[in-house]
Structure formats: C-alpha cells, structure tokens
Assembly symmetry: C2
Homo-oligomer: 336 residues x 2
Amino acid sequence: MTDVPRLRPTLDEVAERAGVSRSAASRVLNNAPHVSAEKRAAVLRAIRELDYVPNTTARALATRQRGAVALVISGEAPSIFADPFFAKVIVGASAALEEADLHLMLCLAASDRSRRRLAELLRARGVDGAVLMAVRENDPVLRIAREAEVPVVFGGRPAGFEAPWYVDVDNAGGARQATEHLLARGRRRVGMICGLPDTHASRARHRGYREALILAGLQPVPPEYGDFTEPSGATAMAALLERQPDMDGVFAANDNMAAGALRTLRGAGRAVPGDVAVVGFDDLDIAQIAEPSLTTVHQPIQALGNETARMLTGRIAGEEPSSLILPTHLVARAST
Amino acid sequence: MTDVPRLRPTLDEVAERAGVSRSAASRVLNNAPHVSAEKRAAVLRAIRELDYVPNTTARALATRQRGAVALVISGEAPSIFADPFFAKVIVGASAALEEADLHLMLCLAASDRSRRRLAELLRARGVDGAVLMAVRENDPVLRIAREAEVPVVFGGRPAGFEAPWYVDVDNAGGARQATEHLLARGRRRVGMICGLPDTHASRARHRGYREALILAGLQPVPPEYGDFTEPSGATAMAALLERQPDMDGVFAANDNMAAGALRTLRGAGRAVPGDVAVVGFDDLDIAQIAEPSLTTVHQPIQALGNETARMLTGRIAGEEPSSLILPTHLVARAST
DNA sequence: CCGCAAACTGGGAGCGCTCCCAAGATTGAC
DNA sequence: GTCAATCTTGGGAGCGCTCCCAGTTTGCGG
C-alpha cells in the first residue's frame, strides 16, 4: 500500500549483519548443507531482524527458473466465460501449482496483440511452462505452442492436432453413455445439439452419440450446431423440432445448450421428459437448477485443471508423463 | 514445446553480430535516441537473424520493474466462482493490463498457504502492483495489503476498512432504484434477500433498500441472508414467505439468489410478477434466461475490472488517481 | 577553418542472487 | 602425531539487461 520505495534489504546485508559470507547466507536461505548450526541461527536471526524477503527476480535470473507458469485460454473472452468451466479449471490448476510453489499467469489469448505478448512470454522464458486451454482447430495459439521454449501441456485436446502432452476427459465415452441412456429410456428419435465444430470436445461428443445410435441399429440424424451458450441451444432446439417434430430425445453437447433446449421445449408446450427427454454435458450448477433438473454427463473439470497443471510441473521437472484421459459418467436427473 | 534447453541468444551476441556495443543494441531495443540509423538497422537485422527475444527476467532485475501485476481474489474458491462475476472482472482487467503491457498474475487467496505466498509476492516486489477483489471484513488479505511494498487498488470496497484507493459500483444507489421500482409498481410489502453480511456490497445494497422504503414512509422488514448462490436464494425466499405470507415484492442482492427466489415462488404457486414482483442485482446472463426474465440492477462488471486495473497502472506510474464509483442502473424485465 | 554544442558510442558498474571452487578447519583412523 | 578424507567457508564469476558517464564525432554558425 505504501508509496515510498523504501529499499528492501539484500542478502548481502543479511550476511553482513549475521557476520557470515553471502554464500553462507544463501545456503541458509535454500537450506542447503555445509553451514554450521551457529551461523545458520545467526543468519536466520538477521533475516528476521531485517525483515528480509529474497528478491524473486534476482533468483530467477540466477537459477533460470521463473517460478511461474502461464495458463492460456484461447479464443474470444465472451464465449469463454459464458459458463463457470474455466473458473473451475483455474481453481484446480491453482491448487496444483500452489503445491509446486509456482505462480499462475493468466493469459487470455484472444486478440493479436495478446497472442504476440504470449508468444514473447513463452519464447523468452518469461514463465517455466504453459497450460493451453480451449485450443481450437488451426488456432493461432498452436503456432505459439510450437515455438515455445518451455514445456507446454494441453488441457483438452485441440482438434486436428496431435498434442504430445495433454489431459482430456472422455468426451466420446460420456456422449455414448448419454445417448445409450436415452435409448434405454425408450427413446428412438434422438437428436443432437453440437457445440462449436472446430473443437475436439464437440466432435468427440458427436462421435459418441453416433456410435451409440449405430450400435443400436438406429440412424443418427444430422445435428444442429450451437456455440455452447444457452441462447444458441434454444435456437438449435427450435430448428431440431422444426425438422423432426416427433423427436423424443435430445443430447446437447453441454448444459448451457441443454438449458436452452429446455426453454424452447417449454415454450413449444412439449413436456420434459414426457414428450422429449434431454441430456446435457458438464454437470455444472445449472444442471441442478434447471427445471426439470438436467440429466447430464459429469466431467471432472476441476480435476482437469489440476491434472493438467500437475502434468506441466512434471514436465518442468524433466519427467515425461504420459497423456491422460479422465473418466466421465452419467448423472440421471429429472429430464429423462 | 521443445525440451532441448537450446540457449537463447543474448543481447551481447546481437551486438557483436551487428558490430556495435551492447549499449547501442540496448538503445535500439528500447528505441531510445542516440543511435545512428545504420547501427539501428544493423541491430534490427541481427535481432531478426538470431531470432533474439530479450530476457524479461534480466530486464526486470535491472529496471526493478516486473512487468506483471497480481489480481487477487480473496475467499473460498467455490463461492467465488459460482457466477461469472470474476470472469468478467478478469476480462476487463486483462484488457487494461494488456494496454499497459503488463501481465496478469492470478492469485486465489483462500488458504493460509496461498496467502503466505501472496504476502511474499507483494513484499518481495514479485509484481509491480496488485488488484484486490472480494475482500471481506477483517479479511487476512487486508494485512497483506498493508504490508505490501507495491501499489494496491481495491476492486469493490472491503467492508469495515477505508480503502485509500478503490473502484466500486454504486451499490446503494442501485438498490434504491430497485426498491423504488418495486414501490412504483404498487408493491408495499417488500422484503429483501441480502448476501454475505461481511461484504460491503451486501451492506450497501441493504442500505439502499432501507432508504427507499423509509423515504416512502414504509417499514423495512428484516432481511433474510444468503451467500450469493442460487440455492441460498431459494431457501431465503422460503423463509421470507413463511414469515410474511402476504409479501408482494422481493429485492435480492444478486441475480443468482433472485433466480433461487423465483424457483421457490414457482414451487409455492405464487405468480411472478402477479403475486410477487422480484428484482435482482448484477444483470448477468441468468437474468435474461430466468423465467420470467429478471428485472435487475445492471452493474458494469467488466468496466469495474478495467477501471481497477487502469487505476493500478496509474498508481504504478506514480499518479494519484482518485477512487471511483461506477454507476448502476435498473433494467426492467418481466419479473416486475 | 575554428570553436562549441549536440549527437553518438562503448566501457563498466551495477540489479540481487546462485553456485563453483579453492582454501582453511576438523575429524578420525592408523 | 600424521595424513587423508570430509566438512566449512567466503571469494568471485556469472545470470542478461539497463544506464550512467566519459570520450569521440558530427554539425554548423561565425
């Protein structure tokens, strides 16, 4: 809060006050061996008395470790933050990073300028590594990832790119469960509302849906597309109804769009689940709040953030962790 | 993405290749004067050829400027991220920081450990400044703010603390508008659902509500308290109804709780706005999605983030900006 | 053609910390 | 008591960049 740029004591001053060399003081700081008990105590006391805090920047320069990683969220902010998905990812990642004593630099890579800054950050080793989230097909961020001078881990696979290190959730499996659940409820005319087509998640969920239908000997109908927001789900549902008025089940690629679908169905006078059963994906708060409450595929979002960060810290430490796919599972509620 | 810690070229190498001194190269880098056009061109070429990127850490050490600020969100993460409030703040702050070429360090100050790390960050000048959000009464973060060695700006005033620099929204004014709107709609028995009592926002909104009622010669009824989440709003509404079954208007301290109130009212068979009119606060997406759509007080959340960050960059630059209160306004929808 | 101001130029001293290494102090086995 | 092995210790050289400063050029009226 202060404005006075009062000088902070340096390690030299600590050493001087403790009557030891800077080297010895440094050893105490990093509790390295080769310091006698007395000197250690003296240094510790001096640190306390001077209220010394080591300068992170100087340490970073000397050790070549920044003590921070970037969490990059690609794409336009508005759509990005429409739901609490990223918030949960951040909470999970934050916990893992705290454990590794790493700070979190949040980079919203939406504009060209922000991407330029990001590229510089990753090339100049301004961070020790980066987690990349929400990377789409042909995303300009991919290039930045390729040219980065630090380890990079993807949170969710980017579409159309074989990410060497990633953590993802079982999108296809979850979607299949969702669709099979609808079929088990006796639905036969099951439509789908997909998300943005250039995301791996949307594609994989669509694939799972198709697989389930085909396995059941049914013909998948072409999906409608939304952008993962509630209104887009409402619109897509309307289009779906128009195309196939006798539809009796819908799988939406996320809860927001499922909530939109519910709204449209309510407006159209269709009972849920009486006339049409609806399943979402994500298991966000909205799924429980919606009326009727939403059957949905639970995905461990916080764990996704956590594991991604953990994988990154592993790679920073020189390990070669293998990519990870977290399980998803159906949560049956009132909408089916 | 690479693992090879291939050495990045340094400014010395650039200078050597360009046939100039390191000083001259540095001048070009910071486009300072006193470099001849030819040398400048030579340096620029060398930079391109060597694919040189200046090392931020070294620069930070030399200039004593980190090029990053902390965005601190105090309190428990779960409640924090229940709604997209912070996401919007982040988007706004991020834009302002990008303009100032500052990176954003996101610090979730929930645990003791995270607060310790935060304190160290702010005392060791690991960042150039900090924005503090969601600081509550007697928040341990206050102490960290006081001991910080860098400028600090509050986003939203902390309760029970005269923040020297802050950006806030007009909570009391908005609440008064909301309540007056209910009164103008002919409501006379207007209850309130408050948020967490140790937040300034909740208190100010309650104050605005009381002012409006008292000005109209009406007796405020004691509020119910929630924690800004949807379920807590539903519970509070139930309690309110039980206490005063003939209630005909409700002002909730945020949209989430208002949505919960709507749910309870629907369950209790009360028509909205027929029997009970409801007003929220925030104007988040949920206000438009709710049924009926929610009359609410719009607050410029993204601007809050933006102005807070801008004020911080101002203070970092040595200015003494004065605190700011952003206007709020009522958005009338179907719930009143 | 001179003198002086203004523009260039590069050397060098930091910024605050880590870490290697050589020198000195201890220890212990014989 | 000796000598090698081990532990301590502090000096010093960086990490890569900025910036002050003194020295050198250049420009241009007179």
